[in-house]
């Protein structure tokens, strides 16, 4: 598919040749989070380089979504530190993370059912003129955003509630990927997608990686990980139990790690 695009991630550094020491795009240290009596995260460390894709896997309720929501400012960690390009940050709201070009596709998609396709693509990023929505210019860009994902949505004015599960998911992905992300987090982005659409998402990930965007991919489709990821982090009961370079692991190895029978690092 053509790389024609509404996707225009600008990245000053670009991908750094491997082997060279570099500051991680995102660096997490000792992240902890409790919800009432549940220790959702019990001290997680993770480094992600620019242009790197990390696959985050683990059992249900392992804490994957919680960890990524902390990166995107949706939750605030109880303790631990986050650094972006070496600079310590502490987000108090999703708006702050988004201002730093951290974009996330949420597991529940976070779409507004009563707003049309175009409105959802531009949610929180509306183009305005004298405080009026600039629909003409948004319509043009919305088309390009969807074409980039090979997604077929006949009417940009359709309410999101009327769309299929996969179409909704595609809108959430297009929204996160289209505004020059520096970190792109995808929480099970392909769970409702058909074959061709999954391929489009994987192509998209490779494309943004090439532009230096760091990607975190959470998925239960382990075979997809080998198509796009550079390393895999395995979570278990709120901790990171293993981290593997993609070349050093196999499907069977990952399955073993997820169910908790792998050897610790």
């Amino acid at each position: 598919m053509a790389a024609s695009s509404a996707l225009q991630a600008v990245d000053p550094e670009g991908p750094v040749p491997s082997g060279q020491p570099q500051v991680p795009r995102i660096s997490l240290r000792g992240i902890r989070k409790t919800f009432g009596s549940i220790e959702a995260l019990r001290g997680v460390d993770l480094d992600i380089a620019p242009g790197e894709c990390v696959g985050l896997i683990g059992d249900n309720a392992a804490g994957k979504s919680t960890l990524t929501k902390i990166i995107s400012g949706t939750y605030i960690a109880d303790s631990g530190s986050i650094a972006i390009d070496g600079e310590p940050v502490s987000f108090t709201s999703p708006a702050e993370a988004r201002a730093r070009h951290i974009e996330m596709v949420f597991q529940d998609l976070s779409l507004c059912d009563h707003i049309d396709v175009m409105g959802n693509l531009f949610l929180g990023r509306e183009e305005t003129r004298w405080s009026f929505l600039n629909n003409a210019s948004m319509r043009e860009r919305a088309r390009a955003m969807l074409d980039d994902l090979d997604i077929r949505i006949p009417k940009l004015t359709a309410k999101v509630a009327q769309l299929s599960g996969g179409q909704r998911q595609a809108i959430a992905i297009a929204r996160a990927a289209s505004f020059e992300p520096r970190v792109l987090i995808m929480d099970e982005p392909t769970s409702a997608l058909a074959v061709a659409e999954v391929e489009a998402v994987l192509r998209l990930i490779n494309r943004v990686k090439a532009r230096g965007v760091s990607v975190i991919l959470i998925t239960h489709r382990l075979q997809d990980l080998f198509r796009v990821c550079d390393k895999i982090a395995v979570m278990y009961e709120g901790t990171k139990v293993a981290e593997r370079a993609i070349g050093d692991t196999s499907l069977e190895d990952l399955v073993r790690l997820i169910v908790g029978k792998g050897e610790e690092i």
Partner: protein, 334 residues
Amino acid sequence: MSVTYTERGQGSALADFLSEKAQVLSIAFFFVVCVAFFSIATDVFLTPGNLLNVLRQAAPILVVAVAMTFVIITAGIDLSVGSQVALINASAALTLSFGVPWPLVVLAMLLLGAAIGLGQGWFVAYQGIPAFIVTLAGLSILRGAALYMTKGYSIPITDVPGFFVLGRGTLLGIPVPAIIALAVAAAGALVIGSQIYGRRVVAVGSNPEAARRVGMPAKWTIASVYMLTGIASAVAGLLIAARLGSGSSNAAVGFELQVIAAVVLGGTSLFGGRGSILGTILGTLTIAVIGNGLILMHISPFFTQIVTGAIILIAIWLNTRIFTAGFSFRRKPS
């Protein structure tokens, strides 16, 4: 065997339009039926004088109903509007009786309304107390404040012809209050349909967590819609004071129910995310026409209340029965 892959047709634009606008179309139809009925049942209803009178009386309801549409789109409710109208109504009469120039009084009342609304909005948005509770408390507190200020007496307003124009004047034969109300409604439709603020209101009503996650000022948006009902109630209180030439703590009793009924009759969902100012205009006019028509038919005013309530219930029930396709009152599971 070969199968050709074909694309789905686009479907008729008319069908889309009908299902999209079903709610507004049905209230428009109901409105026309009411007008036709009272035109036949009474001689006076369809006279220009009476129609202008209906407009004049509907104006305060419409002003507040437009703001209430915003509140209900955020999945909130403001039960205190009637009490706010009474408080403003009484305060305006009191300050005018002290000899304060009327333009200053108007400005002060608008600010007072905004402050009251913002106060309630703060409890709802930033403290997470259900709007129903906050504004129910407001209903009691504000009516009480109005009663306390006036000791229950009606306060006459005298010698401010400029102020009276607001309630009694006409422009090109149309009552000034009706013009003000229609201007407010037009502004409301523009804001909800094509402004960034309107988009935020709909987003917050549709999925507040999504609005927060994309970086919208979700809490401020919720607080601000209560400020809108506060300002609108101030306008309504002033229009009523200027029409009646007096201020009273007993003004606008039951006003909140008329306003909420008008908004819901107009197709705005009580569960948030969806609403229409055009529907609110039609809903308001329908309620005004029913009230006026029943009086013209010399039906006991006690009975009028019963009929109004029953008609509203039946109309809404029919709405949800006939036009359920995509228009359920329940939030869709997602």
